[in-house]
């Protein structure tokens, strides 16, 4: 049996510059709010690979995927 791990996507609002790269790569997961900062609207909106790509592509390194 595999150990179930939940992953949490964390966005540092102070780092986020609102460029929208994460939204372009994973529109079902990320969205820009009124202040043009990214937030997670649905952590299960895309597969792990896509979410990792979005996190790795963030030019401000504002997205972290944490294991809980």
């Amino acid at each position: 049996m595999s150990v179930k791990k939940t992953k949490k996507i964390k966005i540092d609002r102070n780092k986020c510059i609102g460029c929208g790269t994460c939204v372009a790569l994973a529109p079902e997961v990320f969205e820009l709010d009124k202040e043009n900062k990214s937030w997670v609207k649905n952590p299960k909106g895309a597969n792990e690979e896509t979410i990792k790509l979005a996190a790795d592509s963030c030019p401000a390194e504002a997205i972290k995927i944490e294991m809980e």
């Binding site: 510059i17 460029c19 790269t21 372009a24 790569l25 790795d56 390194e61």
Partner: protein
């Protein structure tokens, strides 16, 4: 503390290299809107996208066949870097090849689809490549808006 570029590349284990395809499109961009043809180019859809924070801007002009709703011609222009230029050049090829892409399909193009055709992009340059499909969608929206207006006027 901000990590250096070299740290980033090492961390992500991606080479600091552009693929052959990226270089090809960077040095010889396809469907680029030349200043000399801007006034002559016939288009029925225009869209732009940009992010003030990253300082880039993308413009897209389209000539859409109204009967088939396929994209027959495309032009674009950007302030962007090699990654932005190559991605948008490839995108413009994708939407106009094989007799033109239907609007419904063009609307669904993702940055990942463009990256695949380019043979990949260095991960720290991916954020530069996402403006093209955004501007394309803005142009398609512009076309739909004009179409709706025309239909409304007809009904009056």
């Amino acid at each position: 503390m901000k990590k250096s570029e070299a740290d980033l590349i090492l961390k992500n284990e991606v080479p600091w290299l552009y693929s052959k395809k990226v270089k090809e499109h960077f040095f010889n961009p396809k469907n680029f809107m030349k200043p000399s043809e801007e006034k002559k180019f016939k288009y029925n859809a225009y869209g732009e996208a940009g992010s003030a924070v990253c300082g880039d801007l993308m413009k897209f002009w389209l000539w859409i066949d109204q009967k088939t709703e396929k994209i027959k011609k495309a032009r674009w222009r950007t302030f962007g870097c090699g990654s932005a230029i190559a991605s948008t050049s490839m995108l413009s090829v994708m939407i106009t090849e094989k007799g033109g892409m239907p609007l419904t399909k063009a609307q669904k193009i993702k940055p990942q689809d463009i990256m695949k055709r380019l043979g990949g992009l260095p991960i720290i340059k991916i954020h530069c490549s996402v403006l093209g499909d955004e501007a394309l969608r803005a142009a398609i929206k512009d076309y739909e808006r004009q179409k709706n207006e025309k239909n409304k006027n007809r009904q009056k």
